[in-house]
Symmetry: C2
Subunit: 339 residues, 2 copies
């Protein structure tokens, strides 16, 4: 209501300097004498002036906005990642324009278009894939892309994941060491690199020890499917005495489903998950799980994208971060072998 927009010109007039001087005072790299800096700052705060990011973005071509495309927010892992990314980027003066693409691939294309309209400086995709065509378009527009918690084999694009193959191996080694002999696997979606890699590591370690899993079912990262898969396994001729589930979110559903049948965890069947979301530590689940170090992953992601923003031809990199297996009640270390 008062004075709607106060511009750098207003400040300049009040401080008795040119408009460029005001601009330079508010531009980190620019030169201005201590005298004018003070005059300008005084005038600016008196008038309540703040530089207009839109105008700045238009001329510099840098918006200091980073687009985040995230698939599903019902798996607790992603809100956490979102929060971490938001904080880390804010600390560097960047901000997150958030899109949810619960749906399909064409939706992503559309979103990337929207993001480019906003002249975002970079794009982070959390657990959503990018078609090659799309990454090419981003590259052409000079927009760096980093995939969070998803790799892409074919194309040259930065990605940050946990060490999923190693993680799957850890789960297998742990279960075998605990004496399990009938081991099932409800995998993460096989259309995703995380799902595939964890499965590969898991099955590889089993095979290396001469073991064969009783069942392998794709849980599609879906509670319902995972729960049903667990029951299918238990109803079979060879019910497993341990199940490795592709992520915690599904593991909770599996535990719910087994308990509904009166199956005791871990006594009848042990469960291991993946992620170590906060709920895994809740007493109702007390889930043994392979931790994804979300903080380290977030840090790597922000460093990577900022590096690519400041130096446009920094090479794309893939970063894998190892995480420990966290032992809890759903799969104890010294499980007595089932008789």
């Amino acid at each position: 209501m008062a004075q709607d927009k106060v511009t750098s010109l207003d400040v300049a007039k009040r401080a008795g300097v040119s408009q460029s001087a005001v601009s330079r005072v508010f531009t980190p790299g620019a030169s201005a004498s201590p005298k004018t800096v003070e005059k300008v700052k005084a005038a600016a705060s008196a008038l309540g002036y703040r530089p207009n990011m839109m105008a700045r973005a238009m001329i510099t071509g840098k918006s200091r906005i980073i687009g985040l495309i995230v698939a599903y927010l019902d798996n607790q892992f992603y809100p956490l990642a979102l929060e971490g990314l938001s904080n880390a980027l804010q600390a560097q003066g960047y901000h997150l324009l958030v899109f949810t693409a619960s749906n399909a691939q064409d939706r992503v294309t559309e979103i990337v278009q929207d993001l480019m309209d906003y002249q975002v400086d970079g794009i982070i995709t959390a657990s959503v894939g990018m078609s090659n065509d799309l990454t090419a378009r981003c590259a052409a527009a000079g927009i760096p892309v980093v995939m969070f918690n998803r790799g892409q084999d074919e194309t040259e694009i930065s990605a940050v994941t946990s060490a999923n193959v190693a993680g799957g191996r850890k789960a297998a080694d742990f279960l075998m060491a605990a004496g399990h002999r009938h081991i099932g696997h409800i995998s993460g979606w096989q259309g995703s690199s995380t799902g595939r890699d964890r499965q590969r590591g898991f099955l590889g370690a089993l095979a290396a020890a001469g073991h064969v899993p009783t069942h392998v079912i794709d849980g599609m990262y879906d509670r319902q499917i995972a729960g049903d898969a667990a029951l299918t396994m238990m109803d079979s001729a060879t019910p497993p005495d341990a199940i490795f589930v592709g992520n915690d979110h599904m593991a909770f559903a599996v535990m719910d489903a087994l308990r509904s049948r009166g199956i005791r965890i871990p006594d009848d069947t042990a469960i291991i998950g993946y992620d170590d979301v906060p709920a895994a530590a809740w007493a109702a689940y007390d889930l043994t799980t392979v931790r994804q170090p979300v903080n380290q992953m977030v840090q790597a992601t922000t460093e990577l994208i900022l590096a690519q923003i400041t130096d446009p031809d920094a090479p794309a990199r893939r970063i894998e971060i190892d995480g420990p297996l966290i032992t809890r009640g759903s799969a104890p270390q010294n499980q007595r072998t089932k008789t």
Copy 2:
């Protein structure tokens, strides 16, 4: 790499029209003959032109960006709200610039400044309060603000909440009808309107029936505090046979804590939560709870903020949306009275 930026001028040249014509074709309200529309669209798609939102924002003063300030993302309710808001606003051509303010009030001030720098068209705060000074500044800048899931008594500012007082009342009526006589309450943070209102409704209904709660403790929306509070109640001379917990997130912690003591739910102590987040339906908790209709709340919020954006002097409104009590295993309808 190819042609970095393709502008409306390039399109104009190729289509053989003026730059203004191109602009008008891409501006919804403007007039252009079918002939030029076609020519321009052809040239535009041939060149891969898309209007630069930054430039557009600068001149119109409208960025089509809405700032979202959200407090904590570990309570599942907020990711859900975020997802809903994001989708609803995207459908209207708006986008969300997301800030997390896990911390304190001064942080919010800073964030609002950042948002104003970006010329956001509106601000939605999810469960975070705004000082009067701050709302005044937004009003002065002509930026509408809508509070999601939080009310503010003193100041004239739009807010969307569920019917928290009524919800608290429902919880009380339900527990009394089920025959409980020793009823405790672990409230939501009393510094928040939601926490206060639910408590007010709950205690009011108890009092109206001549009942006095055994305990009332502020759970601060914190798992640890809530769990400890529950144990404190059970260790007291008058352990409650039912507890109303200020939100689901704390209720889960309470259930974990009680079970760790071997207390059976609902047989020894019934539990009611608030929110009806997805996890409340998970078998491990199976929580009776008062639903917050997040979809309706999201819809009301977007409608409200868009209305205030299009008509700057639309009045601030407060919307309360009623939600049902969802009966599940943690507090059944026909609880036998404890002897």
